[in-house]
Amino acid sequence: MDTLVFLPTLTHPTGEIPLNPPLEIVPFLSAITIVAILKRAMDYETVIGLEVHAQLLTKSKMFCRCSTDYASAPPNTHVCPVCLGMPGVLPTINQQAVEYTVMTALALNCTISDYTKFDRKNYPYPDLMKGYQISQYDAPFGHHGWLNIEVNGQKKKVAITRVHLEEDVAKLVHRASPGNGSYSLVDVNRSGVPLMEVVGEPDLRSPEEARQYLIKLRSILQYLGVSTGNMEEGSFRCDANISIRPKKSQELLAKVEVKNMNSFKAVYRALTYEAERQRKRAAEGKKLSQETRGWVEDKGITVAQRSKEYAHDYRYFPEPDLAPLVLSKEWVEAVRAKLPELPEARRDRFLAQYDLPLYDTNLLTGSKAMADYFEDCLKADKASPAPAKEISNWLLGEVSRIINANSIDIADFRKKVSPERLVGLLALGKKGEVSAAAAKSVLEEMFASGQPAEDIIAQRNLRQISDSGAIEKEVMEAIKNNARAVADYKAGKKQSLKFLVGQVMRATRGRADPGLINELLLKKLEEV
């Protein structure tokens, strides 16, 4: 009799059960087969290597003087004969892009090549204006580097193969024709934007490690100020090579390249799916083929892409229009000396300097903008700085809540509420001008309106009531209206006091000093 069985999900390397896709259902053969499948499936490990492309934050393009600020510009308005690939044009190297790439390579502990050059990567596609991309083949700016990641408290060093510089391609917009077919439009604004590629070694062993690697790499680029690292907007892109191999073996099964992942979450989901898919095929004794697969976000699956377009011999050769670059040791050392503090160093300094818990420190320094905000808060009131832990609590609590609720980042928040203003709010709390409960809604209002705390407190009449006469009146009212709670309290139910405090708070719209309410309530309850 045939029954159905779910294939095991226990083999997932992080031990988590993937949400997507719905598990495939296969016919049950025999218990022995299942055990064998289970056993074989558990014996594989996942091997992942990531290739990241990051657009560099230069003012002009890689090989011409066109502005890179095209995000909100109409199509084909940031173009010139050079980035259009007109006959007769020649490229000239953007020095800032070279510096940014070397900065990144240094931050990733790479060896910097003293002799580097550009090469032509040849392939035909309508998004490639010259029919070749100016890239780097065998002499990248940086090579043999590494970065540290941390997964479940375990530190891991991930090797970086190389860091090189190339140019972005134009953007194709596909449209449906009135008939049955489709056509494509070319927007050349993006063509020639400096694109840095960071190739990692296949040292990653799980989708979670891959995610942490990306988070760390992005954080480093943001600390360096060389890229926005925005994956959704396409300024930070990731392709993954993923394969499985029997544990204790060095021999990989077929290497699969996964493309089209447009968020950190998508990378995690796609790799989780793909590792699972490969295990299933291997467990079923099916052959795995070397191929390129595309992540289909809404379906939560990867699908094989047509191999014809991707089976290229790129015919690399040195770009004859650009002389090789010789980077002097002095110049490289000058770039190194200019490197800003990087995430790990900043975390260590925060730990030593601010006496914060490791948890807080990791979260605060994970984003440069957040760490900057934190330190700017400390600097805002030099005379009597707010305690570091209090600022941290606000940033990781209420501020993070507002950021998440509005799908923005700390930089957007900062435009509405400067560190000085946040510190101003905290100072009012310290002076007793606003209660902790009211302060939260004041912050909300500060973010919404962009006004300082004082104005909001005044307008909305949120000043903390420290006048015992006014509070006493509300206390008496609460006792009068809540006879049951009062009786409970008298009978020994001490938590009824909290309820009564809450009633007074509500009546004063959170403005009353909680200490005073407590004190007055205790006193009045004695008298009842």
């Binding site: 007109m86 006959p87 190297i93 309508p126 011999d313 015919r315």
Partner: protein, 485 residues
């Protein structure tokens, strides 16, 4: 003498003295062009209106006493150099309707001098060829014998100068494309040092070999044009920030103290006797002028230059010509619903056979598994050739060779034999491989057909070769002979 026969310096003297106006000179050149073009077919585009308006402006400038030696002097531009608003076809169907939205750096420089642009010259398609027969439009005829080729690929430029359609011309030289037609048409043609003249706006054939240079009626004119176009350009990373001297100041008729070498490898098998005889006589003349001649120089890697050239140039070309896909500009095959078919058919119908042959050669040479055996090896040969030149120039001020082993051949004679055609450049392409400068000057005739002498210099040694060329020219009458057309 009719005005179109003037040299630049002769015309400038008359223009400056206001004995001739640019409008008159330009009109005369345009009329002569109109008369001769049916026979010669040197020009792809005649820019009569542009020339007339530029001539008027030039006259105003000259009247104000602010003339440059090139102000008001009509020039013909090889159709591989981008001219803003004027079709730049590369003599290809692919770019038949292409009008550049920008000027090449050399055009900006000529325009700043007040030049009069009278037309765009025919050429082998995308500068690939040695006879101008590979133009997609029509072959150009040699004014010394209309049944013969003018050489190439700058054949149109050389003919326009030799037949006095224009006063001078610009060409481009990747393996001899200025010097070989200069030799075939008995005019002066120079390929400057690689990096001496900006390539910005020169439609690329082989980027590491291409160089723009002048075609003129005498050596003085060559120096004047080089003065105008040479110099570093921040839009061309391969142009060199070397100071640009005044090249007219090195033109003296005395060669005392100079040592000239004659590399024997350039007197190749298959060289015509008339060419050899003329060269020997020319070299004797240089000796009479005071130069010390060493007849026994050897550049042993020379025989490998041709093979290296036909790997490097097509490899670079295969990438340079990849942009012509019908998507952005130029010819576009549209009779299909498939993007790939449109791109393939655009290239199938847009390129001529010689261009396709070289794209295939280059694509093959760069392919995985062949790169080391072909491209990398060719680059090593290139290094050897360059070293031999460097070595030679520690002893010699210049080297003397024929420009081409033959006089102009018949139209159609080598069209079906690409290898024979390639051999026509055997004396000129090692110079591009080495990146050094060389000039071809008229050095006699064999049965009424022109013979060119090539003078090769060290990198940025244009002054030395201009000096040798000028002294020889002053002592001979070859450059004064005119094609009887």
């Amino acid at each position: 003498m009719i005005p179109p026969q003037l040299t630049i310096h002769e015309a400038h003297r008359l223009l400056k003295a206001r004995k001739l106006s640019s409008v008159e000179l330009t009109k005369a050149c345009l009329e002569r062009t109109k008369e001769l073009e049916p026979k010669l077919k040197a020009l792809v585009t005649v820019t009569g209106e542009l020339a007339s308006s530029q001539a008027e402006k030039a006259d105003q400038r000259l009247a104000g006493g602010k003339g440059h030696p090139l102000t008001g002097v009509p020039v013909v531009i090889k159709d591989v150099i981008c001219t803003k608003g004027v079709p730049t076809t590369c003599s290809s169907r692919m770019l038949e309707n292409f009008i550049p939205p920008y000027d090449a750096t050399v055009m900006e420089k000529l325009n700043a001098c007040g030049a009069v642009i009278m037309g765009k010259a025919n050429m082998d398609e995308f500068a690939m060829g040695s006879s101008t027969e590979h133009s997609a439009f029509f072959p150009t005829h040699n004014p010394w014998d209309l049944s013969r080729v003018p050489g190439g690929s700058s054949g149109g430029s050389a003919v326009a100068v030799a037949a006095d359609e224009g006063i001078y011309a610009l060409g481009s030289d990747t393996g001899g494309s200025i010097r070989q037609p200069a030799g075939f048409c008995s005019v002066v043609g120079m390929k400057p040092t690689y990096g001496r003249v900006s390539r910005y706006g020169l439609v690329a054939f082989a980027s590491s070999l291409d160089q723009i240079g002048p075609l003129t009626k005498d050596v003085t004119d060559c120096a004047i044009v080089l003065n105008a176009i040479a110099g570093y350009d921040n839009r061309d990373s391969t142009s060199v920030p070397e100071p640009t001297p005044d090249y007219t100041r090195c033109l003296t008729s005395d060669l005392k103290g100079l040592t000239l070498g004659v590399p024997r490898e350039y007197f190749v098998e298959g060289m015509q006797a008339g060419v050899k005889t003329a060269l020997q006589a020319a070299i004797k003349k240089l000796e009479e002028l005071g130069a010390k001649i060493d007849w026994e120089v050897s550049l042993p890697s020379t025989p490998y230059a041709l093979a290296a050239y036909y790997i490097i140039a097509p490899s670079e070309a295969s990438a340079n010509l990849a942009r012509y896909d019908g998507v952005k500009y130029g010819f576009s095959y549209t009779d299909t619903d498939s993007m790939w078919e449109a791109m393939e058919k655009t290239r199938q119908f847009g390129f001529g056979d010689e261009v396709k042959r070289r794209i295939m050669l280059g694509t093959y040479a760069l392919s995985a598994g062949y790169y080391d055996a072909y491209y990398l090896k060719a680059q090593k040969v290139r290094t050897l050739i360059r070293r031999e030149f460097d070595q030679a120039f520690t002893k010699y001020d210049a080297l003397i060779t024929p420009t081409s082993p033959t006089v102009p051949f018949k139209i159609g004679e080598k069209l079906d034999d690409p290898l024979q055609m390639y051999l026509s450049d055997v004396c000129t392409l090692p110079i591009n491989i080495a990146g050094v400068p060389a000039i071809s000057i008229p050095a006699g005739f064999d049965d009424g057909l022109p013979i060119g002498m090539q003078v090769i210099g060290k990198p940025f040694g244009e002054e030395a070769i201009l000096k040798v060329a000028y002294a020889y020219e002053q002592a001979t009458e070859w450059h004064k002979q005119r094609a009887g057309i």
